[in-house]
């Protein structure tokens, strides 16, 4: 990333970043903050910060994990500012982040083939569980790297992943049970 030599190269590189990674980074952010408008704002900030710090970036070939790491930090900083860093339930989320008319909450998923229950399943995960699973999903890093990136012990990361997946599986099971009855 630090091998650019001119404004045109910079522009081409930024264009490639956006083309190859913006969807993943936005998906990651949306999974964390669960609001489209906030995810869009953070997405722009992620690329701005990554761009400003590109000269010091040395991990060639791992651009996505670099961007996701910035995204994770920004989302965590935002949560800290809102005072909802660790765990909140559904009612608390609604109070802290009420949906406006212009927002597109995950409830829109109910209108699609993707079931409402799956979106609700994401909401059931605790923030650490979501962070680990989203990082795994979008970066495809191994859990050891994810733990290192999130600065938590490996066993903690594995525990978050396993419990999160069990929660999602439970949502699926409940959904199937409701449809059969």
């Amino acid at each position: 990333m630090g091998d650019t030599s001119g404004p045109q190269d910079d522009s081409a590189l930024l264009s490639r970043w956006v083309r190859e990674h913006s969807r993943a980074v936005r998906g990651f952010l949306l999974g964390l903050v669960r609001r489209h408008d906030v995810a869009d704002d953070l997405l722009q900030e992620v690329f701005q910060r990554a761009w400003q710090a590109r000269a010091g970036y040395q991990e060639r070939g791992r651009e996505r994990s670099y961007l996701l790491k910035i995204a994770d930090r920004l989302a965590c900083d935002r949560s800290r500012r809102l005072g909802v860093e660790v765990t909140v339930d559904e009612s608390a989320w609604e109070l802290l982040e009420p949906s406006g008319e212009s927002q597109q909450p995950l409830d829109v998923l109910a209108d699609r083939d993707t079931s409402r229950e799956l979106a609700a399943g994401l909401d059931r995960l605790t923030p650490p569980q979501r962070r680990v699973l989203l990082m795994r999903y979008y970066s495809d890093l191994e859990f050891a790297d994810i733990a290192s990136q999130m600065e938590i012990p490996l066993n903690t990361a594995l525990s978050h992943a396993r419990r999160g997946l069990m929660a999602l599986k439970k949502v699926l099971t409940e959904s199937l049970a409701e449809k059969t009855t």
Binding site: V18, G27, L109, L118, F143, R162
Partner: protein, 175 residues
């Protein structure tokens, strides 16, 4: 499957892999975890479909251009260069006044120590140069400008020129 199990990480990475190699068999618990994983993937893929990469790229370019700091106007650069010159001149002027003052006080004390009949021979102070008045006026102007904290480029420029000319005159003639 416990957190301490050395196979835990391997099984979890298998359950959460993008794709499984053909013929890969999973035990029951790992298969359940993979079901949850695939469900999460469907939910995430469904929610992240609407994004305009072109808009994002345009916003980033605009922001990058906006953050480029513009060059300061020429008159700002000139003013920035003028202040050090003005302050240096004011400092030199202050030192000059202090030296003249100490010389005059020293001379007065010498006169006071003389007998009365010799004091009458000294009829006038040593420094009667009319430039003293100009120096005092210039010093007052500098004090006012510094105290007010205002900067009018033209006035400062004139004052600096004035001080420099007086300094040259003193250097070449009086001192």
């Amino acid at each position: 499957m416990t957190d301490r199990d050395p196979n835990d990480r391997m099984l979890l990475e298998l359950a959460t892999s993008r794709s499984l190699a053909p013929g890969t068999s999973l035990d029951e618990s790992t298969a359940e975890l993979r079901e949850g994983w695939l469900a999460m993937g469907r939910a995430l893929d469904g929610q992240s479909a609407n994004i305009s990469e072109a808009d994002l790229f345009a916003r980033l370019l605009n922001e990058a251009e906006r953050r480029v700091e513009p060059n300061p106007p020429a008159h700002v650069k000139q003013r920035d260069r003028l202040w050090p010159a003005l302050l240096s001149s004011a400092l030199a002027l202050g030192l000059l006044v202090a030296v003249m003052n100490s010389a005059w006080v020293g001379n007065q004390s010498k006169i006071a120590s003389l007998p009365n009949n010799e004091q009458s021979a000294v009829v006038a102070p040593q420094w009667t140069d009319p430039l003293d008045d100009e120096l005092d006026a210039a010093a007052q102007q500098v004090s006012m400008l510094v105290a007010q904290g205002t900067g009018v480029d033209a006035s400062l420029s004139n004052l600096a020129d004035h001080l420099e000319s007086m300094s040259d005159e003193l250097t070449n003639s009086s001192l």
